[in-house]
């Protein structure tokens, strides 16, 4: 059961960020900041072709260059077996992971790694990379998802036969997998409808846009032990993947998570780490590798672009009778797009009897996609929320009321098959409708859009250690790389349980040798799952503190309670003892049994689903088609905000990224399949001056499975913006657009067509 809010001293407060001073003074150590004695610099040789067979690789000139200490090609790497492993949003094949790290027989996208070199300086490494001669047989390529599904499309992998269909196809295909979710009878549902709207939508792939590029330092000793320091959302994932790819025992690899300058899902896999280890192994010296921004775009994963058809029917009084969706998702060069979660989330905000979603995972000669906040959900929910909005408009029903009428509640069987427990979908709609924002009159060329979003949230493996120091301070250790201020939340939860001042708790994210396995920082799981481990560890420490007091007082431990940071007799029957503080018990720990600590190693279950509702006001310049976002409000059920400031930051950041997805961001390829806008100048993410202040409203419907009611918060806020912006633009222009991004030329073209 949840603790009652009135009992909280620290939960819900805006404490100072433990890592804040280091970050604003430049003292924080990021992935590229580590320098070791004798360290080499590594560079990667990448394919200029979108699809080609590797005929030969000649490294002799590079190896002969003075200062070059090692060159690696696929021939140096062990062959990986075909085995499924968890990676961010999906299961991926280990062989695909290996071949994405370094191409073996074919290159599958422009930017695909073919070799790596380590030298004494960056300049020498770059010159050496240019001396590596790769002979290619260029093959036809395919970029677009629908083109890749055609019978005459170039087939990327001759071992892929469409999964999820029966019988197994006899011909290899770029369609790696088909998924289907259905409830009820959609045809009967549409027959009951008074109005049916069907639209085709497209979205472009978008990059996670983290400020810090991928960076690693690896040092492999002569005894085979490996130290890795890297920018990652999961140092245990890095250990696991590198051990598997390089056939090294896990216990020989220690990975330390550097401070991380953003990930958003994009750092839930490995790119440079196995190469750096292999270069270090061959050179006998530490190797640092850092991607340039161009390499980040050319070689690390965006999320999918997609094409989809959405069809929804409703009665005149506003009840949705059926929903049908077909989703075609770009996976990039290897299978594993987030089409599965996209299919499951598409209609999840609604209580529907008749639903069908079919999804296709399609490979093409693009960068392999990787997780991006709420993988897949922003795409499918953009299509659904755009049609839902159009239905509300055509029926003359307020868009929030229409969503509330059809919205999921506790006990609703979700479209993906699971019955919801305690959820806050309706409460976010009510809170959105009650905002001042929703009532502000709009001017000429201005429009208001609303959209909702859903994400499952997850738990998973986490551990925590609480050590009571001799002076009464507390060292808190855990292993979830801190991307969004999670150390502050961990300290708050520990202080709440221990009953001490939060500044007495020092949280640290420790290396893979120092604590048990953690799943990646992703899926909005850390404050929920690692937080649960911290609470359990703190409770274990409290039990030990009570036991020490019981020893000192000569009473049974059941006669000692822990209140406000002190051991106290449970009643007057126990005896008349002065309460002992945590610090007082810590000071005599050596005399009462030794150091005091508490530990927890868990696989957290019961992550509470998250819902959000966003409101967006825009103004569209009729002369240029330029969209200005005037006002933006993000409302979300967060369960309970441990640190409201950082939760608000999650909502604001997600909204900003979603607005960029809606208005600006896209991958552009030339006729040869080479990315043309591999940099922040031409791939434009929103900057502060592009956006208004984003108002964040926290609705707290506590998750009953977490001791403080936490739900994950990081995924949901990127889901509604795509449709909220699209719906606002529709209201401003009178045109229902069906393709993102909503660039000025696209808007002008749409407005011209209307006229």
């Amino acid at each position: 059961m949840n603790e009652q809010p009135k009992q909280f001293k620290w939960v819900g407060t805006r404490t100072i960020r433990p890592d804040g001073v280091d970050k604003v003074t430049g003292r924080a150590m990021y992935g590229a900041d580590l320098t070791l004695p004798g360290m080499l610099e590594g560079k990667v040789v990448r394919s200029p072709h979108a699809h080609a067979r590797i005929i030969s690789i000649d490294t002799s000139k590079a190896e002969a260059l003075k200062g070059v200490k090692a060159v690696v090609t696929a021939a140096d790497m062990p062959e990986a077996e075909s085995k499924l492993v968890a990676a961010g949003e999906a299961m991926i094949n280990f062989r695909d992971l290996a071949e994405n790290v370094i191409a073996r027989q074919k290159v599958l996208y422009a930017g695909h790694t073919v070799a790596a070199v380590a030298a004494t300086t960056n300049d020498i490494a770059e010159r050496a990379a240019a001396l590596i001669k790769v002979e290619y047989e260029v093959l036809p390529h395919v970029i677009d998802v629908l083109d890749a599904m055609k019978d005459d499309a170039p087939v990327l992998h001759d071992h892929i036969f469409t999964g999820g269909v029966k019988p197994k196809p006899e011909k290899a295909s770029n369609v790696a997998n088909r998924v289907e979710f259905a409830l009820g009878d959609v045809d009967a549902g549409f027959a009951q409808a008074d109005i049916v709207i069907e639209r085709n939508f497209t979205t472009e792939p978008v990059h996670q846009g983290y400020i810090e590029p991928h960076a690693v330092v690896a040092d492999m000793g002569q005894d085979g032990k490996v130290d890795v320091w890297c920018s990652s959302q999961g140092h245990f994932m890095v250990r696991s993947f590198c051990a598997g790819l390089l056939k090294i025992e896990m216990s020989k690899i220690k990975v330390t998570a550097a401070e991380i300058g953003g990930g958003f899902g994009g750092k839930t896999t490995v790119y440079l780490e196995p190469l750096a280890i292999m270069l270090s192994h061959k050179a006998g010296r530490p190797v640092r590798m850092v991607m340039s921004r161009e390499e980040v775009f050319r070689a690390s994963g965006p999320t999918s672009g997609a094409a989809m058809t959405i069809k929804i029917g409703a009665t005149k009084d506003g009840r949705i009778t059926a929903g049908d969706a077909t989703l075609y998702f770009q996976a990039g060069a290897f299978p594993g797009s987030p089409v599965g979660p996209a299919a499951m989330t598409a209609f999840a905000p609604y209580d529907l009897e008749n639903v069908r979603v079919v999804g296709f995972d399609v490979v093409s000669n693009r960068q392999k996609v990787v997780a991006y906040r709420a993988p897949g959900a922003p795409i499918s929910e953009y299509g659904v929320e755009s049609v839902v909005d159009e239905l509300a408009e055509k029926l003359g029903i307020d868009p929030i009321e229409f969503r509330a009428k059809n919205g999921a509640r506790e006990g609703t069987k979700a479209a993906y098959g699971v019955t919801f427990g305690t959820i806050g979908m309706q409460e976010t709609l009510e809170a959105a409708k009650a905002t001042e924002h929703y009532k502000i009159p709009l001017g000429p060329n201005q429009g208001r859009g609303v959209a909702t979003g859903f994400w499952f949230n997850i738990g998973g493996e986490s551990c925590a250690g609480i050590r009571i120091n001799e002076d009464g301070t507390v060292s808190l250790t855990e292993g979830s790389p801190d991307i969004g201020g999670s150390r502050a939340s961990m300290a708050i939860m520990a202080a709440e349980v221990l009953g001490i001042d939060v500044t007495k708790v020092k949280p640290s994210v420790v290396d893979t040798d120092a604590i048990g396995y953690h799943f990646v920082t992703g899926g909005s799981r850390v404050t929920f799952a690692t937080g649960m481990a911290v609470v359990d560890a703190a409770k274990a420490a409290v039990d030990e503190l009570r036991a020490r007091a019981a020893k000192i007082w000569g009473v049974d431990v059941d006669g000692v309670v822990w209140e406000d940071g002190h051991a106290k007799p449970a009643s007057t029957n126990v005896g008349d003892f002065e309460p002992m503080s945590l610090a007082a018990l810590a000071a005599v720990a050596n005399k009462t049994g030794g150091p005091i600590s508490g530990h927890a190693d868990i696989n957290a279950k019961g992550a509470g689903p998250g819902f959000g509702t966003h409101i967006c006001d825009v103004e569209v310049d009729p002369e240029t088609g330029f969209v200005t976002v005037l006002r933006y409000t993000a409302v979300q059920d967060v369960g309970r905000a441990i640190h409201p400031g950082y939760v608000e930051g999650q909502l604001q950041g997600g909204a900003a990224q979603g607005i960029g997805w809606a208005l600006n961001e896209a991958y552009m390829y030339d006729k040869d399949g080479k990315l043309e806008n591999a940099g922040f100048l031409d791939y434009r993410v929103p900057v502060a001056s592009d956006l208004p202040m984003i108002d964040a409203i926290l609705v707290e419907i506590p998750n009953p499975t977490h001791p403080f009611g936490v739900r994950g918060v990081g995924e949901v806020p990127i889901i509604p913006p795509l449709a909220a912006v699209n719906n606002a633009v529709a209201a401003a222009t009178g045109v229902r657009f069906t393709a993102l991004p909503l660039s000025p030329p696209a808007i002008l073209a749409g407005m011209s067509a209307k006229d």
Binding site: K166, Y372, G421, R525, T705, G714
Partner: protein, 82 residues
């Protein structure tokens, strides 16, 4: 007997389209074994790439969790996140 619900996509592959099947099991481990026995390949698929939701709670790595005839059991793809 427990009732196990499947997505329509999974059902079309392993159970001749039946989205609800019955097996004898007291926990998830037994359930997966029984599904593999009755519908070859399904148990393996669950172990490799699927989650099990019991009474609305999605479990990414279920094994010893108890199930009974009153449990709502749903097999669905594994979920991660960014």
């Amino acid at each position: 007997m427990i009732k196990v619900a499947l997505t329509s996509g999974t059902a079309s592959q392993y159970t001749d389209g039946k989205t609800e099947v019955n097996v004898e099991a007291k926990n998830v481990r037994q359930m997966v074994a029984a599904l593999e026995r009755d519908f070859p390949g399904l148990g393996t698929e669950i172990q490799q790439s699927m989650s099990v939701a019991i009474d609305g709670v999605i479990l990414p790595d279920p094994y010893l969790e108890a199930v009974d005839e009153d449990s709502e059991i749903f097999i669905l793809p594994k979920i991660g996140g960014g």
